[in-house]
């Protein structure tokens, strides 16, 4: 296995897509299967050259479906495995993801979201939140969902994703959007992580020599067994809910207007916070990083001291439903979104905040 030494002192200008690919290899990913689709083509292109060099496998699969099912095999064999795609391709993987979840196989699935529905376009979007967090596939399963908002974070979260996938034996979705995938920023690489192999996988398929056969399955026909299996899954989900709660608070301590936003959208929202602060408004930003589990407690606490909450998404309003559910009647929840690849400007968001502020001052 050839490993080029990674200079962990030097920042490199790279795109989110490349950051994800490089991080995967450094995290010990040794199986990659994918099918080209914009805006994430840089990942398979990069992997086709680098995976063989890293002693791993690159397969350009015949379809997204083949890719996710190859991951099923690679993961069943105990390997760290990744596939990447964008919205339509991710829709095709839903059956496979449900199988991986059902069979308790970890893997990393990257969705570099684009405008939908259907073929849509290739502009950045955040309209697959529901699919990722509620489970676009069938059955009672969840996958961990992590949403980076910078290239560095795309790199860091990809590494984290492999650990979580092994720890909890679940698919982990990196929910990036076209903006994160395509944009370049300086990245500080952290080098190879050899604890990658630190997870014992006694259940993995290695040949039954000297032990009872291992079976990887999600099918439990006998009455009651599937329910038991589901209880096990739910218990694991409860554990994940307790342990995975990533978010960023930006100027929220004294904020009475709270913006909730994730991914690249949160970057623009941050600009708006900065701008509104200059205008003297006490605006803050809550940025969930783990979208599932959603950092409910943290938001709940902030919501109590907020006069109003503005959810901003590059979608028709998806995460806003979770926010409403969590916030309950603590604060009114407003929404501003752009769809189909439209990117709101800082000004648009600030305008929404001003509207809310006006409504409040009028009330007084």
């Amino acid at each position: 296995m050839i490993k080029k030494k990674i200079d962990t002192n030097k920042k490199v200008l790279m795109s989110g897509n490349i950051a994800i690919a490089q991080a995967a290899i450094e995290a010990g990913c040794r199986f990659y299967a994918g099918y080209p689709i914009t805006p994430q083509n840089e990942i398979p292109n990069y992997m086709s050259g680098k995976m063989p060099q890293a002693g791993g496998v690159f397969i350009q699969a015949e379809s997204e479906i083949a890719a996710i099912n190859m991951l099923f095999g690679a993961s069943a064999a105990g390997a760290r495995a990744m596939t990447t795609s964008s919205s339509p391709g991710i829709s095709l993987k839903q059956e496979g993801i449900s199988y991986l979840a059902g069979a308790r196989l970890g893997c990393v699935v990257v969705n570099v979201m684009r405008g939908g529905p259907g073929l849509g376009n290739i502009a950045p979007a955040q309209s697959d939140y529901f699919q990722a967090t509620k489970g676009g596939g069938h059955g009672d399963y969840h996958t961990i969902v992590l949403a980076p908002s910078s290239v560095q974070e795309a790199y860091d979260l990809t590494k984290l994703a492999f650990d979580l996938a092994d720890k909890y034996r679940t698919p982990v979705i990196i929910l990036a959007d076209g903006m994160i995938g395509q944009m370049m920023e300086p990245v500080q690489a952290t080098g190879y992580r050899l604890q990658a192999t630190g997870y014992k996988k006694a259940w993995a398929l290695t040949g039954a020599k000297g032990r009872r056969p291992n079976i990887v399955r999600s099918f439990f026909l006998k009455e009651g067994i599937l329910e038991e299996h589901n209880k096990l899954l739910q218990k694991e989900y409860q554990k994940i809910k307790q342990e995975v709660n990533n978010y960023e608070n930006y100027l929220t301590e004294d904020a009475n207007i709270l913006i909730v936003s994730y991914g690249s959208m949160a970057r623009i929202a941050k600009d708006s916070v900065n701008y509104m602060r200059k205008q003297g408004a006490r605006v803050g930003l809550f940025r969930p990083i783990s979208l599932w589990p959603f950092p409910e407690k943290a938001l709940e606490e902030l919501s109590i001291k907020s006069n109003a909450i503005l959810v901003v998404e590059m979608s028709a309003g998806q995460m806003v439903e979770d926010v409403q559910r969590i916030v309950k009647s603590s604060a009114p929840v407003y929404f501003y979104g752009r769809m189909g690849g439209g990117i709101p400007s800082q000004e648009e968001i600030s305008e929404e905040i001003k509207k809310i502020l006006n409504a409040y001052s009028q009330k007084k």
Partner: protein, 198 residues
């Protein structure tokens, strides 16, 4: 430079320098490479940078553009609404982005591909026959580098050393490097000359 306090790219409280540049053209004009070399040069100067591309029809034809932010401090959004500098390498790009130059900003126009020099009173307009110049140097494909030379020369967003270093990182092949360097240098000279003239 953002000195107008509109908050774009400016952190709350402090008023640091942030340069916001949009480079636009058609699919084959090397927009992305040009922007990347620029962004990388800025990174080499330890600046914060973001480089955000936008392609038209997947890769070819149509109009493509790239947004580059360069700043002394962390950049929130990579997205640019109004830019300090717009470089328009063809007609559709010009039509589209002329309204997104900030007051007192700069607009670079590739007059080779534009019928008439545009009018916009509140910003500086630098029009050059970038494509023709590139053609003259030997390759119309170097249009982007000609424009880059003009941009760096007239704005000094990045230093020449870092630009050269960045260029080297971009073009490993010596000949390709030399051709592109030539285009940049030629443009740098040119802008000075023309400036004097005008």
């Amino acid at each position: 430079m953002d000195k107008r306090g509109d908050g774009q790219g400016i952190s709350f409280g402090k008023d640091k320098m942030t340069e916001q540049i949009i480079i636009a053209g058609s699919g084959g004009q090397g927009i992305m490479a040009m922007a990347r070399i620029l962004a990388n040069a800025a990174m080499l100067e330890d600046k914060f940078v973001t480089w955000l591309p936008c392609y038209g029809a997947e890769v070819r034809g149509g109009s493509a553009y790239c947004m580059v932010k360069i700043s002394d401090r962390e950049i929130a959004s990579p997205y640019i609404n109004l830019a300090d500098t717009v470089v328009a390498l063809n007609k559709p790009s010009l039509d589209r982005f002329i309204k997104r130059v900030k007051p007192r900003g700069t607009l670079f126009v590739n007059t080779s591909l534009v019928d008439k020099k545009p009018k916009k009173s509140d910003c500086k307009i630098i029009g050059e026959d970038f494509s023709d110049i590139a053609s003259d140097i030997g390759n119309v494909q170097c249009t982007n580098m000609v424009a880059l030379g003009a941009l760096v020369k007239s704005s000094s967003i990045v230093g020449r050393d870092s630009l050269e270093k960045s260029l080297r990182e971009a073009f490993k092949d010596e000949n390709v490097f030399l051709l592109n360097e030539k285009a940049i240098k030629y443009a740098m000279k040119l802008v000075k000359v023309r400036k004097r003239k005008s």
